[in-house]
Amino acid sequence: MSRAKLTPAVKAKLAFMRFGLGPKPGGAARIGMEADSALNACLREIASPAPAQILESDVKVFSTEANAQVSLNYDQVCWFGMNVRKMDEDNYIRPLPQDIAAAERAARYAKHMSPDVGFLERLVLFWSNHFSIFEAKSHLVRATVGHLERAVIRPNVLGRFSDMLKGVMAHPAMIAYLDNHLSFGPGSPEGKRLKRTYNENLAREILELHTLGVGAKYTQEDVINFAKVLTGWTIHGASHAKAGQFHFNPAWHEPGAFTIMKQSFAQDGQAQGLAVLNMLANHPATAQHIAFKLLLHFVTDKPQPKLVKSLAGVFLRTRGDLKAVATAMLRMAQSWSEPMTRLRQPYPWMVSQMRAMGLDGAQAAQQEGRLARFLSATNHQPWRRITPDGYPDENYVWQNPNAIRLRKDVAGAFVSGAVAGGKWTGPKPAALAADLLPGALSAESAAEIAWWKNDLQALNILFVTPEYLRR
């Protein structure tokens, strides 16, 4: 594919497709057509994390007890997650954990409709995938995974990486997903009494996936020592008043000082784990890992070493200031000059269809169940990656013959079901396309959209034009 001249129109398309969630009607006009309009629109979206916040009251789930839509707080989602089996005795009690997860997704979709570009939302999605969780691991995970994203990822999305890391690890969704509630210090009082020992799972994944990354110089001994440090990071049992909530249990915690990455950690209790997480969060290998992964996700399958080094430098100098890192990535020339040869991932592509059709937040939330079908079909449903590595970023994973065929059918089916009464009442698709991507739609694509007399089929074509599929 040839390198398109970087006109303001091309930059706008690039912002929408590479860094955002696709254009909204009137969005291109609102961000403007000056040389730096697209960049500035992205920068404006990360001026403050406030627009990315989802309030507890924004998440509504049906409760049979209240016979109404209610919002659940942390105590409640944890309790439901732990006690759903008891509720089994009383058939059809609601909300079920899957209802809670669906409500969280619906609130997420609603939030996706607001911004003009969606870069801040994409950062949320990036970090949520970085700390990927498989919701079907257990009821507790399913009931709390949305809370983790809403209460830990979103508030820290422009904050410090170390804060996000510590928040994620002190959340029941991650503790339960990676089995740390089954991990006992073998020399701890409870470990000795129950003859139980540590579980390496969480410690290993923090090192391999969340911080230093595969290929960094940590050893099996580091993993074991870190696992011991993390003993006691657990959740309250089902019968406890705070069932399912994270807590540190000193009676499970392996006593003593431990060496990790050649540093000794002699703190007591939970402070020891927090100190290790702080060390890891600010380690050069972590900086490189995050820099590499951001570029891999947003820009290219092959991040240039000098760019990785530069972005990692920002991460280290700012002690993991995620706003500074995101800003630096946006300001790299390659972020805009890299040709748009990769396929957009299914999730942002699906969301961009709702945005293009002008759905508001409430309408988007109503699509949750339908999106679950289409995102499962395209293997990109939120919180459904089984393994903790998260959905991959490399193009080859997403771009294959059946995937393209499927996108065509998915777009057609989604579009026709997303409009009231199966009838499109918006602007003619050809006009809409010109509004969404002014000056950036090829003459061939524009002509093809205009050729279709059926508006829904014309929209179907729009969403599988190269302009809508490439990033």
Binding site: E208, I386, E448, T465
Partner: protein, 463 residues
């Protein structure tokens, strides 16, 4: 061009599959979805070569993952075991209604087509088998079954044993060229470095004209998309079209469509040679007899349709159907069973040394049961897989013991599963790897998660 999607029910198969993903250790979820019945998702294979080679005489392998934990005691019923009737109570099936397999076992009557294959010595059963990890969790046991690792190393791999097999096949081997195919959202068993591609057995109704118009648009604007869409449409056509006269009349169930598609693809000269199908719906915590009568019947029809679809290649085919665990030997108080351990596996295909139930029967006496509740597993699913891979595909034992099923030297491949006369062309015929030629397995270096980062760091160092 006719649009065969319109022949299929407009229901999305993966909708049901997605619902099944909620499958946890809970009766609650089960009761809500009992009516969903069986489902199958989507196919994948690595790629479609552009040029046909000589008609494929290579062996075919279909792995069917029966997700949810199938109750082996309800399928191959141990009518010869003196404790069967008393232990099962109301769940016990009346021997007179069952189909006789041998002196000790009878088959659930919902599977007459499988019985016909069994009588033709083209199908067999393995009883009292389970994956190495025996902890009654769907998630962990499926992971264990598909990763091919011993029980203790949960989530140590993000690739599956079938994908590792693909990685080990000698370069240029026709099977590797054709890759594997899969049904369901990329199950772990096929996940990994070797590219896998998918075909959806369902799909949504659409205007056929859209295919041709869009292909034309891509031809004018994006050569890459044009190539991909053309191949995707060709594969879809291959899987959904072809002789259908010999199938039973009537609209095929979604499961039948999936199995027919798998058969057509494996039969195609330019198609894959290895396939995986997910079949959900076996987690029978409640009303087990009714559910299994329906689901086993549906499965029986679908499996036989696969036989018809694959045609003359049936004789060089092995179908292995496995599940992550069996169920409690006694029923629960809801006419169902809860998670257990030992269960059955099915084998079918023209290469099978059929007409027998392979088992070292552990018995159903109270002290014979695992923890007093489950049928014990006397064999390891890895032994079954290794036996099939060794005898059907010619995979060398050293590879089976190390790379494909790590640390499994002590798990001996099952013998005599295939007919001695079945001389399927070995996939390794020209390239038996000698121990001194350590092909640097890419899987070892990069098969794990974060391969992109691993590669980057090989060149540039870490941090």
């Amino acid at each position: 061009m006719s649009d065969h999607d319109h022949e299929l029910p407009p229901v999305d198969l993966r909708l049901a599959a997605a619902a099944e993903e909620g499958c946890e250790e809970s009766r609650l979820l089960i009761s809500r979805r009992a009516m969903l019945g069986l489902s199958a998702g989507l196919f994948a294979w690595s790629f479609m070569p552009r040029h046909a080679e000589a008609a494929g005489t290579e062996p075919r392998l279909l792995v069917v993952l029966l997700r949810g934990g199938l109750d082996g005691l309800h399928v191959a019923v141990p009518t010869g075991d003196p404790n069967y009737q008393s232990l099962r109570g109301p769940l016990a099936l009346d021997p007179a209604t069952l189909l006789t397999l041998d002196r000790d076992f009878r088959l659930n009557p919902a599977m007459p087509k499988f019985k016909a294959l069994y009588d033709a010595k083209e199908a067999a059963l393995i009883h009292a088998i389970a994956p190495p990890l025996q902890i009654r969790s769907h998630f962990e046991c499926q992971y264990n079954l598909e990763s091919g690792y011993p029980g203790g190393t949960i989530r140590s791999a993000s690739n599956g044993w079938l994908n590792r097999l693909l990685m080990e096949l000698p370069v240029g081997n026709p099977v590797k060229v054709r890759g594997a195919l899969e049904v369901g959202p990329t199950p772990l068993i096929l996940a990994g470095e070797a590219p896998v591609m998918s075909w959806a057995s369902g799909g949504w109704p659409r205007a056929a004209e859209l295919d041709t118009r869009l292909t034309g648009l891509y031809a004018r604007t994006d050569a890459g998309l044009h190539d991909l869409l053309s191949r995707g449409l060709a594969a879809h056509k291959l899987a959904t079209q072809g002789a259908s006269a010999s199938f039973p009349p009537g609209t095929p169930s979604p499961l039948q469509s999936a199995f027919r598609g798998a058969g057509r693809l494996l039969a195609a000269e330019t198609g894959p040679r290895i396939a995986v199908l997910n079949v959900d719906g076996w987690d029978t915590h409640i009303t087990q007899t009714a559910t299994l009568t329906s689901n086993l019947g549906n499965f029986d029809n679908a499996l036989d349709d696969f036989r018809i679809a694959i045609g003359e290649h049936w004789r060089r085919t092995v179908v292995v159907c496995v599940t992550e665990f069996g169920r409690t030997a006694a029923g629960n108080n809801r006419s169902g069973t809860d998670h257990g351990v030992g269960t059955v596996a099915f084998l079918a295909g023209g290469s099978i040394n059929g007409g027998q139930v392979f088992t070292d029967w552990p018995g159903l006496g109270q002290k014979d049961l695992n923890e007093g509740r489950d049928l014990r597993a006397r064999s390891d699913l890895r032994a079954l897989f290794k036996g099939v891979l060794a005898d059907h595909l010619g995979v060398p034992q050293a590879l089976l013991d190390t790379r494909i099923f790590p640390d499994s030297k002590l798990v001996r491949p099952m013998q005599n599963l295939l007919r001695p006369t079945s001389t399927s062309a070995s996939m390794f015929r020209s390239a038996s790897p000698s121990p001194s030629s350590p092909a640097p397995a890419a899987a070892d270096l990069f098969g794990r998660r974060n391969d992109a980062l691993a590669r980057f760091r090989q060149q540039n160092g870490a941090g």
